[in-house]
Amino acid sequence: MDVSSGIPVERTMRPYIIGIVAALILTAIPFGLVATGALPRSTTLGIIVVFAVIQILVHLRFFLHIDLETTPRENLVALAFAAVLIFLMVGGSLWIMFDLYHRMMV
């Protein structure tokens, strides 16, 4: 008996294997860079951020099976809207709080 709850149930292990391999690489490199201190600090930070974003996309695609064809549109819109709001709320908060820090030493 096969079941569906509305999201695609992956029938093969393939995406999970791809996902874990990609995630391990995207994790090992930043960890390695921090452990060894091989690159300058700002470069390492940049790599950490970029790899984190890529790894999130890897997780979304290979573990959560989110793609533009099969995922219901409302789920994609909700995700996009959340992303916009996170940008506004976190970006706005950091802007405000660092501005306050500079002006008020708060």
Binding site: V34, G37, A52, L64, M89, L94
Partner: protein, 201 residues
């Protein structure tokens, strides 16, 4: 989607709609949780320098422990995926096997994290030591609480699979648990990228 579901499974269109509604509703809950975590991250970043003369991340964090936690959680996401594959093949014993392994890996994660927290508290670096530590413990601790709830949920699902089998409602709940579990792994990626790695740099 609904026609597909009906054709594949023999559950009624009405039931398939209900499961879609539940999945969408759960997805929305995860979006609200994402907002909570992003504000915890924002607070952490605002307060990362507020050490009040106390210990900093560099002094407290351990890359070995962070790697261990990361590995445990990442592998647990994969093993949950294998449970989902077994579910689609209607293989009950494989589902139980992979759920148990996922539980053990998740429990490893929690064990490591509790050890980390206890160690910090023993050094006088508990959450009441400084704003930075309040931010750290709350962000990482909230994630850990979510993982613990997830572990409880895995146990409940193991029970349901054992006693009810792979029925449609059980499968629907497993898929939502999967969403939850993978979401928590995504949050962890951000945690090690924002907290541990920059802290240790």
């Amino acid at each position: 989607m609904t026609a597909e579901a009906t054709a594949m499974t023999g559950i009624s269109p009405r039931d398939a709609e209900r499961y879609e509604e539940k999945e969408f509703g759960f997805w929305l809950y995860l979006m609200s949780d994402a907002i909570i975590f992003s504000l915890l991250f924002a607070t952490y970043l605002v307060m990362v320098g507020n050490t009040a003369g106390g210990p900093t991340g560099k002094e407290l964090f351990s890359i070995e422990r962070a790697s261990g936690e990361t590995l445990a959680l990442l592998l647990s996401s994969t093993t949950f995926g294998f449970a989902a594959v077994a579910l689609s093949a209607a293989d009950r014993s494989k589902v139980l096997l992979w759920l148990c392994i996922t539980f053990l890996l998740g429990a490893c994660f929690i064990f490591l994290e509790i050890g980390e927290f206890r160690g910090m508290i023993a050094q006088g670096a508990g959450p009441e030591r400084s704003g930075f530590l309040s931010g750290f413990f709350t962000l990482v601790g909230t994630h850990g609480l979510h993982v613990s709830v997830g572990l409880l949920w895995i146990l409940v699902m193991i029970g349901q699979v054992l006693f009810k089998g792979l029925t449609a409602p059980v499968a629907s709940r497993l898929m939502r648990l999967g969403l939850f579990w993978h979401f928590l792994d995504i949050i962890w990626v951000v945690i090690f990228s924002v907290v541990y790695l920059p802290g240790l740099l």
